[in-house]
Amino acid sequence: MTWGVNAVSVRFGKRVALEDVTLGLKPGHIAVVVGGDGSGKTTLCRTIVGLEQVVTGEVARPSRTCFQPESSGVWSDLTTLENLEFVARGYNLEPTHARSRIEELLAVTDLTEARDRLGRQLSGGMRQKLGVAMAVLSEPELLVLDEPTTGLDPVSRLELWSFINRSAREGRAVLVSSTYVDEATRGDTVLALEEGRVLASGQVNEVVAAMPGRLFACGHKRGALSWRRGEHWRVWSADGVPPVGGREVEPDLSDVMTVAALSSEQLS
């Protein structure tokens, strides 16, 4: 069973927010949408959960779809427990089941101690964990999380990803959007967006393997298709001809996305 979007385009007035985007979502799999600010990640998440109107294309989602918006979706004037209880009531969960599920999620997210703290009194990481807990509480088939790790410290990001992995292992289809390219490797599939258009998509290793041309490491900048990476410069050669003094390196997803962005920029 597959959900997701097929050849979807979304426009806000004359501005193209998404152009011909296709993304499949499968139970037990995590799809990560990566891209910079304004790349269309949030629009894609909102489109999948039904908050945006598509101009063309198709959207398919299960009836049990839950969404965590970019802002965490936590009600700041309710306590941690009240937030979870409200969501449980909203999804008509049986009270006894809801209580045990809430206790389980509080324990898993390490929020038991903060159960009586108001949403606005939680740290950024705690708020995001609560947001994801609220989204998974009703055991949805599809979980859409819009930038859940943005602004979090590395430890909180790790904790959140472990929680997201657990949700996928429980059989849920999960879509996570992120501005961090390294997070794409945590998913089964990746979709890279730029200005609403797909730069690359597929399994991470496939996307990396499909990079055209060859990649070299140099001590100096070599033309427009080069960028700094650590102490060296990466140089992409479309025809595979090595630059002077260049040493061929294995690209990773970050390189592939940079290549895709630079080459599409050059083409336009």
């Binding site: 069973m1 959900w3 909102r46 489109t47 999948i48 959960v49 039904g50 908050l51 945006e52 109107q53 598509v54 198709e58 959207v59 398919a60 989602r61 299960p62 009836s63 779809t65 839950c66 969404f67 965590q68 918006p69 970019e70 802002s71 965490s72 979706g73 936590v74 009600w75 700041s76 969501v87 909203g90 999804y91 008509n92 609220m134």
Partner: protein, 344 residues
């Protein structure tokens, strides 16, 4: 410092809505309120009853606009005309005796009528006058029923609009949109606390008005409750409508105040509607507070019953249906903008 000044000018220039409100609104408000802000009374709706009423009606000064003359009418008929609010002066002709009944719930009209009749009683034998409902022409008696409505405007419209916009800003409205709530569930849930708070406010204001300021409560509670409920729907609906066109809480506050101001000035609470220039008077007749004020004052001060207030109650219901209906539609659109295929 120059950099700071330039930055502020740039920001103000880009906030078009605020800029428009800062420049256009004062001009509009001055024009509208300038024509509305008149305490002078030159038109008092009047009825004359009893034998020879036609002769008396013809001799009345121009300030009294005689709307009906009933030769077979008596004092009860005259008082009923005042209770319903159709007339504010009723003249009862009974043989050689002519009694002018003045509606004390319309303060400025009553004061003007008293001035005319005080001067005339010395010259016209048999002429006397009585001020009904508010014999001392007490200001708080006239103002407090309308103030209850004004408080509903502030609590209902302002607080509701801010609450919905806060939910939009926090992103939790999206959360609600995705949850299996029907738009009406979210809508009713959202406004319920404010409905209750505003209801408590009305009761408190009216209680304080009657206990502390000696405002009478001469009528039955039913028409006032009906009017208050209808008016609450209008105020809360207006709050939701404002939230649907506001990007942030500051804009919601600005817009809510912009809807409250004309209601203060043009609803007849302060300035008599009949004293306003016809060019702005029609605005008053479009405002829900105008009709709530008529109902509240009618019930509390004049002792009007349900049957006497059918017109303002009907118009309030109509406004309630239109504004609340529009708010429900806008809110539902906000919550359900897209209809994606739902796979089984």
């Amino acid at each position: 410092m120059l950099a700071m000044i330039l930055k502020e000018f740039r920001q103000v220039r880009r906030d078009r809505r605020t800029l428009a409100m800062l420049i256009v609104m004062p001009v509009v408000l001055l024009l509208v309120f300038g024509y509305a802000a008149r305490f002078d009374v030159d038109d008092i709706p009047t009825v004359v009853v009893g034998p020879q009423s036609q002769v008396v009606a013809e001799r009345l000064p121009d300030i009294f606009t005689v709307d009906s003359v009933a030769r077979d009418g008596d004092r009860d008929d005259a008082e009923h005309e005042l209770i319903t609010g159709r007339a504010h002066v009723a003249i009862v002709v009974d043989g050689q005796e002519v009694t002018a009944l003045i509606d004390g719930s319309e303060l400025f009209m009553a004061q003007a009528a008293v001035r005319v009749f005080t001067a005339a009683t010395d010259q016209v034998p048999g002429l006397s006058y009585e001020v009904l409902f508010n014999p001392d022409l007490d200001t708080s008696t006239v103002l407090i029923p309308g103030l209850a409505g004004l408080i509903i405007v502030f609590v209902g419209t302002l607080v509701t609009s801010m609450s919905v916009v806060r939910e939009q800003e926090a992103g939790t409205l999206e959360q609600l949109a995705v949850m299996p709530f029907k738009p009406k569930d979210v809508f009713i849930g959202k406004i319920s606390p404010y409905f209750l708070i505003a209801s408590i406010d009305i009761v408190l204001v009216l209680l304080i008005g009657t206990l502390l300021f000696d405002v009478p409560f001469n009528g039955s509670a039913l028409p006032l409750v009906l009017g208050a409920v209808m008016f609450l729907f209008v105020a809360l609906g207006a709050g939701v409508l404002i939230s649907s066109v506001s990007e942030n809480q500051a804009q919601a506050i600005q817009l809510a105040l912009m809807t409250a101001l004309p209601q203060i000035m043009l609803s007849g609470i302060i300035f008599p509607l009949s004293s306003m220039a016809p060019g702005v008077r029609w605005i008053g007749y479009l405002l829900p507070l105008t009709y709530f004020n008529q109902v509240a004052k009618g019930v509390m001060v004049r002792g009007a019953g349900l049957g006497d207030l059918l017109i303002p109650l009907g118009l309030l219901t109509l406004l309630g249906l239109v504004i609340f209906g529009l708010a429900v539609i806008r809110f539902a659109r906000q919550l359900r903008p897209a209809r994606a295929r739902v796979a089984a």
